[in-house]
Symmetry: C3
Subunit: 153 residues, 3 copies
Amino acid sequence: MIDHTTQERPQAAAPAALYTQVQQFYAHQVGLLDDLRAEEFADTFTADGVLVPSPAASPVRGRPAIAAALRAAHERRFGTEAVRRRHWHTMLRVETRPDGALTTRYYSLVLITRPWDPAPVMGPSSVVEDVLVHESGQLLTHERRVTPDHLSF
Amino acid sequence: MIDHTTQERPQAAAPAALYTQVQQFYAHQVGLLDDLRAEEFADTFTADGVLVPSPAASPVRGRPAIAAALRAAHERRFGTEAVRRRHWHTMLRVETRPDGALTTRYYSLVLITRPWDPAPVMGPSSVVEDVLVHESGQLLTHERRVTPDHLSF
Amino acid sequence: MIDHTTQERPQAAAPAALYTQVQQFYAHQVGLLDDLRAEEFADTFTADGVLVPSPAASPVRGRPAIAAALRAAHERRFGTEAVRRRHWHTMLRVETRPDGALTTRYYSLVLITRPWDPAPVMGPSSVVEDVLVHESGQLLTHERRVTPDHLSF
């Protein structure tokens, strides 16, 4: 279930420096995800980071487990098939918690392209809710909850 | 018809603080739209706000009428069917008018997901042109003109 | 082939003013591209600008050649058919080179809408890598390398 409480607060815009830093963090993180650079992707999480890939799934905890889960999910869906996978994020919201951590919420869409076929296959569309923290001046994902739209009913 | 005159001016970049504020305003507004929180969505318009949902449509004026139009459009298209609807905005332009109001222009794409089917249905793609104003430090939509691509010929 | 070296560097966020300027440059440039305003689109390149529309393609050099290539590609794909074409850019990265030029990397997706059909046709999905430079305070594309996903295997 998606927690809609953030939508009930009056709009509060994150400062430009923070908002664009988060945008760029995701552009970097998504590149690692889409190239299936699983260990480097896991390194964009905190050491105790948690990934919840769908509401019914068990949380995945820690970088080695996150890297393994990413590889396993890819293999389950695609086997050894050659694909280019792209994650598109839009409609990003960023809020700062009293403890300094950031909560974000955005739409994410997966596009899959196969060799020689210019028409990508689309899906799923998801809502993603992250907690981001700064460590040594860099952003890291502390927690990610993914709610695929088709599993949100 | 889409007014292309904004494209003829030399590029003028809105300041970062304003541009990211507008990005976050839309992320907030779209969440209300996609959750069909019709009254809250209407509250992101000025009291005298106008919505023109397609070039041939009559303008919808005022918050109660905007909320009613949103519900009616959803019911016309989906009835009581369970759907998750997502609006994706990209390629946002923001310009400041001499009177301080903002004119924006962006692409908007609708994605519809049904229960258990991970592949969203896409469309329509539209160009949206808004006039935004600041009221008590918050952005509100004063006017919105939507031109669906398939009705733009 | 896509050069992945930018992904190996630690994340470095461009300042907000620069990042939002680049976002707005692309929103402006894409409007000209999608309206097939070929000469105005070519004018968003430097006089010695280079466009490499796919890895196997010959580089197109200079504004007149870029405008001609744009028209030719459109005619090859669509002939005289009426279409609305939209380019969606997401997941933008911006880095500053030591010489002051910017290197960018983003995903780009083409959506095609035909009259009266609200469902766009999608594709191709590409990774675009640009070199941008400032001339007289304006951004211009000095070099663009497009790698369509379906030709990237």
